[in-house]
Every structure is written in structure tokens, then in C-alpha cells.
Subunit: 162 residues, 2 copies
DNA sequence: CATAGTTAGTTAGGCTTGCTAACCTATTGC
DNA sequence: GCAATAGGTTAGCAAGCCTAACTAACTATG
């Protein structure tokens, strides 16, 4: 309200308000996607982690945790679940006896593709109600969001290929 | 924006890809905000619910649950926590003996303001590294996201004033 | 080369936020 | 007046986060 009504002139967009609404919008988008994720059998956290493994090649648990911005124990649990489902494999790191190398199984790759497709489907369906320019605006904004969202750690990871 | 430099031309922004990256960006932004929320003493779900109560006037639990896109039992628990913290009050609905009217206490309003400020602060700080046009692009995109994110229920609620 | 310190990962335990199922009470409709 | 419906709550479960504490392995140093 206050400032918007859709055509935000550059000067009217107060960062605090944008931040506020961005947060709110992000919550709602994720909440609605959670249901889609459920249908795929892969929860958001697992799907996201799996995608990093698939596209980020073999990597250590610590690196994966950092990429996903969670703590190692959290990622340990997620990886454990993925491994149990046969989507991911833990291998010893030849150079470091403490570390592990995480890689996706063939099934993992396949499931990721399917899950990713389903996950994105509902959002895509809704995006398709938008006109080209709106999609383009979103696309551009997402690029900015990725910078802003990852700025904290200065890390740029997965998002790309997911 | 839209077509700027890295900005893909409108025709190249495939909805599926945008959806994909939007999802990823949303995850990361929320994850980074969760930490800020912790600092305020209010978890994201509670803060969000409280904001709806504060700005949405007295309302029933079912309405609040719908606004927040969660099931009644989930909201019942969240409201219970907010009530225990003295931020929200349950009153009987004069017109319907089954229903309750949720309203914020003075403390609730105050805490919301503080929490909201802190929550948005880190995002804002990061947004401030952007130039005016980028902020404007985000602002515009957020408006689209709100439509897209809320499209499922067709409901438009809190996001506005939070 | 032995030992202290650090680092990778896991386990244990706790909290929040979701859900469904089952239940109670109040309202509504016949 | 009684069955059906609707609003809330309780109980019980799972996912995702976290910190604390532990083990095993690497590194550096006297």
C-alpha cells in the first residue's frame, strides 16, 4: 500500500518497505510450493540439497552445508535421508580420512529431474498467467534476489543450476 | 530494467527457469532472515501471524489460519504461544459461541513493531547496496510475486501492512 | 615422534512449524 | 428435538533447524 500501486517510480521504493514485502511474498510462495514438493516425495530441503549435489559434483558435507546455508548437523541428517532413499552416496575422501564426498546416484539424478519439474510446475503455471514483461521483470528481480539473499555469506552456489 | 545488461530479453525468460530460480532465491532469503528473526525473539511464523492480527483487526482463528495458509490446528498452536507471551488475546465472539476473536495486546503491537523493524533491517541493509533502479525492479517484482504467491487461495491478506 | 590443537562428521536432544485424526461444543436446518 | 455441520483444541507424528558434545583424523610443534 502506502507507496506502491504497481508502477513504482524508482524514487518511491523505500528499501524497508520492499524488504518487508519481499519477505512476506517469499513466505507465501514457499508455503504454497511445499505442497507441491510433498507430491514429489521430496521435501524442499532435500530437493535443494540434492540439486546442489547433482550439479555441484562431488563435494564435502561441510561445503554442502555452507552452500545451503545450514549447519553441518542439519545437513548430515538431510544427507542421511537422501542416502537412505538411494539418491545420494557417501564416499570416503581419498585425501582426507575425515571428510566424505557426496555424489548423486543415477536414481538421484533422475528423481531430481522429476522432482524439480513437479516442484516448478505449479509456480510455472501461475507465472504463465503473467505477460512477457512481468515474467521478465521477475526474472530480473530474481537475479537481484540471488545476490541479496546470498550476500550474507558472500557465497554463490547452487541457485544457478537447480 | 527488464532488458538491461544481464537482464535476459523478455523472450528468453522461460517461466520454468524463472520459477526455479525464484524458488531457490526465496529459500535463501528466508533462511538468512530466520536468524534475524531469532534475534527478535519472535519466530517467523509467530511474527507473521502477529502482524496479521495487529493489522487485520480482531479476527477468528479460522480466518487467521486461512490468511496464513496453514491449518487451524497449526494456527491454534501459534496463537497459543503468542498468547502465552502476552502478545495476543483470545476473546469470545459475541455472535458465535464457538468462535474466538483474536486481537493484539498493547505489548503485541509494540513487539511487532520492534520485531518487524529488526527483521527487515538486515534485508534492508543489503538492499541498500543496490542502486535505485534495482530496488525499483525488486519492488515491482514483489508486487507480481504477491499476486503469484497468493494466487492459489485467491486471498490477499497481511503482506500489505506487515 | 608424541602430543596438543584443529577440523570433518555424527549423535543426542530440543524447539518450531507443519500435518491428520479425533474430539467437544455450539450452531443450524429439518 | 435431533442430526449434521462448523469452529477450536488436543494428541501424536515428521521435517528442519539449532547447539552441545563426541569421535576420528589431520597438522603442527617441541
Amino acid at each position: 500500500m502506502t507507496v506502491r500501486d504497481k508502477g513504482p517510480s524508482p524514487t518511491s521504493a523505500a528499501p524497508a518497505l520492499v524488504a518487508d514485502r519481499l519477505h512476506s511474498a517469499a513466505i507465501h510462495i514457499l508455503r504454497s510450493l511445499r505442497r507441491t514438493d510433498e507430491a514429489t516425495g521430496l521435501s524442499p530441503a532435500r530437493l535443494s540439497a540434492l540439486s546442489v549435489i547433482v550439479f555441484g559434483g562431488p563435494l564435502s558435507l561441510a561445503d554442502l552445508a555452507a552452500a545451503e546455508q545450514v549447519r553441518p548437523p542439519t545437513m548430515s541428517k538431510i544427507v542421511g535421508a537422501l542416502e537412505e532413499e538411494g539418491l545420494v552416496k557417501r564416499s570416503p575422501d581419498p585425501n582426507d580420512g575425515r571428510a566424505i564426498r557426496l555424489s548423486a546416484t543415477a536414481t538421484g539424478v533422475r528423481v531430481l529431474e522429476r522432482g524439480r519439474r513437479m516442484r516448478v510446475e505449479s509456480l510455472t503455471a501461475r507465472l504463465q498467467t503473467l505477460d512477457r514483461h512481468e515474467v521478465a521483470a521477475l526474472d530480473h528481480a530474481v537475479e537481484i534476489m540471488e545476490r541479496v539473499g546470498g550476500a550474507e555469506t558472500g557465497r554463490r552456489e547452487k541457485g544457478e543450476g537447480v
